[in-house]
Amino acid sequence: MDTSLVLQNLLTPPALFFFLGVIAVLVGSDLEIPAPLPKLFSLYLLLAIGFKGGLELQHSGISGPVLPTISAAILMSLAVPIYSFVVLRVKLDSFNAAAIAATYGSISAVTFITAESFLDTQKLHHDGFMVAALALMESPAIIVGLLLVKLAAGQKRPDEGPMRWGAVLHEAFLNGSVYLLVGSLVIGFLTAANSPHSAEKMLPFTDKLFYGALSFFLLDMGIVAAQRLRDLRRAGTFLIAFSLLMPLFNALLGVAIARGLGLIPGDALLFVVLCASASYIAVPAAMRMTVPEANPSYYISTALGLTFPFNIIVGIPLYLALVNRFIPVAG
């Protein structure tokens, strides 16, 4: 069953365009999507996923498993960096260990979106409040990462005093992608309640176009991930192993928690994907800003060059197989 799900995932446009991008780099095609076009797609996807999540959240209401699930998600984004840090310190200095740990505590919105699309092709329902969980897992991971740096290291930097908490919280909660995601969620929520007609008029843009735009963007992500994969060779086997095994471990933990929360299979898969994915947007940007001592090619390459493709291609269907195996279908 696992292999059949993997195959079904592999043969959808998002995965295939991702591969097309990877292969472009491997065979040396000069295909490129020049800046700032990728930013257009990434802004669009955040806006659309947030807006759709907000609509659904309005329809389903904030009750039942909503608050427990969101709390569990936030707890995971605090816990993952801590145990990841302990593992990573075996081989790496505190700066690099903290930066990578924060990356794995946070999430990858594109992995989440791809999982949603996969659920659609499997005709499995999922709820809008999972987008709220997505939105709330970036900031805590950033904060834990910076706390770890603070506790484990002590070097002075030229242009700052002790620790600029204001700047840290600011970066954690107000970086562009978290802000746009949360903002669009709120807008969707308000619009669904007050102006259903205008919510409907948004759908051709936010909903119909979504799958194609995701596929286009994954073409670029394939190119970028493959470029990163090269960097990773230098990072050595320890990091390679970490970037494949840590997501698996987090996924298993996620399945257990989802079962405990009594989530339906669709929501359970999304929860697991949140646990298992790593951030290559908000957290790296925050780390690059606040922990310049850490080597970006480590934390970006692990999250983007290995964990992301692994999740997109093998992880999502594998996690669904786990969910199908361990989570009883309601009814």
Binding site: S42, D159, V224
Partner: protein
């Protein structure tokens, strides 16, 4: 007059511009989306979708006295975060 060329990560751009203002420069010019290679490895635009940014090239024409202040305010940033800064002679057109 002097001409100062700075190449820094877009990450540090705000701090550098603040230091330039503080040094009393009469103005500056910024070119973004600049890529390159240095002791810390290559910098590309590939991560653009994430807003990580690339390098910036900052150009300042100023009096020698301002260069000394830039030396004090900007050079530590370059030493710590990477990037380069060079000074040449220039005359107003």
């Amino acid at each position: 007059m002097k001409r100062v060329d700075l190449i820094v990560s877009e990450r540090e751009l705000d701090a550098v511009l603040k230091a330039i203002d503080a040094a009393g420069a009469p103005g500056y010019t910024v070119m973004k989306h600049v890529t390159g290679k240095g002791p810390h490895g290559a910098v590309s635009e590939a991560m653009d979708f994430s807003g990580l940014g690339a390098n910036a090239h900052v150009l300042v024409f100023c009096e020698p006295a301002v260069v000394d202040k830039l030396q004090a305010g900007v050079a530590p940033l370059l030493r710590y975060y990477g990037g380069v800064g060079y000074v040449s002679e220039a005359q107003q057109l």
